[in-house]
């Protein structure tokens, strides 16, 4: 399917998060995404964008680009890219979800949520750029 992406580039920092979410919300509206799917997308975007803001360029700074394209009725394709250090979210270990309270690792849940709430999650490194791409809505029964 021929898709035209709409793009926004901002400094990779927590201060940019709200503007990026507002931008994505416009995409969700143009795709006719259900409200419950938008709420999940918002969570996915926060997890991925916070990762870029915290880790991609540290201790330097840089930009993050968010792009979306309508992929069909109620379906939105998204891409998040940066020129920071190589980071493949698909290669991160899945946290142990069966551990009891005291053994429960504090980290790793964000990317687990991203995997659970998206479709076609993919990563590529091209020309010094990390790009994470995915579609929403994710699986009908997330986390299974």
């Amino acid at each position: 399917m021929d898709r035209e992406f709409v793009r926004l580039t901002l400094p990779a920092s927590l201060d940019s998060l709200q503007a990026l979410l507002d931008f994505a919300h416009a995409g969700a509206d143009s795709a006719g995404l259900a409200q419950s799917d938008w709420e999940k997308l918002e969570l996915v975007l926060e997890e991925l964008l916070v990762n870029v803001a915290r880790y991609a360029y540290q201790p330097e700074s840089g930009d993050v680009e968010l792009a979306y394209a309508v992929d069909g009725p109620g379906i939105l394709a998204l891409e998040i890219s940066d020129t920071g250090r190589v980071f493949n979210p698909l290669e991160q270990p899945v946290p142990d979800l069966s551990a009891g309270l005291l053994d429960r690792p504090i980290g790793g849940l964000g990317l687990f949520l991203v995997r659970s709430l998206t479709n076609s999650l993919d990563y590529r490194r091209e020309g010094g750029r990390n790009t994470v791409s995915f579609r929403v809505p994710g699986p009908a029964r997330p986390g299974t």
């Binding site: 998060l17 926060e46 309270l101 429960r104 964000g110 659970s116």
Partner: protein, 110 residues
């Protein structure tokens, strides 16, 4: 996010409303830490007004619960609903915390 505490005989109820995200999740942990440092051992988070929680929020809940457990205390979650409830279910944290339908039930179990 707004956090409204109510001190009861056996526990402190923290009514959390709004959105708990990367920018403000630490405020919940700090509020809990203040009660813990004053000797509170049982906290109940009343979450029927929580609209959104990201992994940074989950971290705060876990960190507080781990601190309390090491002091023979507890962090109970009451009234989880909507996407926050789904997030706790997906990450299987629903089995890690004592979870109740209502604050009254949580108090009754202490």
């Amino acid at each position: 996010m707004n956090i409204e505490p109510t001190q009861l005989e056996k526990a402190v109820v923290l009514k959390v409303t709004g959105r708990m995200d990367a920018e403000n999740a630490h405020e919940f942990e700090e509020a809990c830490d203040r009660w813990i440092s004053q000797g509170t051992r049982h906290l109940i988070a009343e979450l029927d007004g929580l609209q959104y929680v990201s992994s940074m929020g989950l971290r705060s809940f876990l960190a507080v619960a781990q601190k309390l457990q090491s002091k023979s205390g507890s962090l109970s979650l009451a009234g989880l609903t909507g996407l926050p409830r789904q997030v706790f279910e997906m990450t299987r944290l629903i089995g890690v915390f004592p979870v109740y339908e209502s604050t009254q039930q949580a108090i009754a179990k202490l």
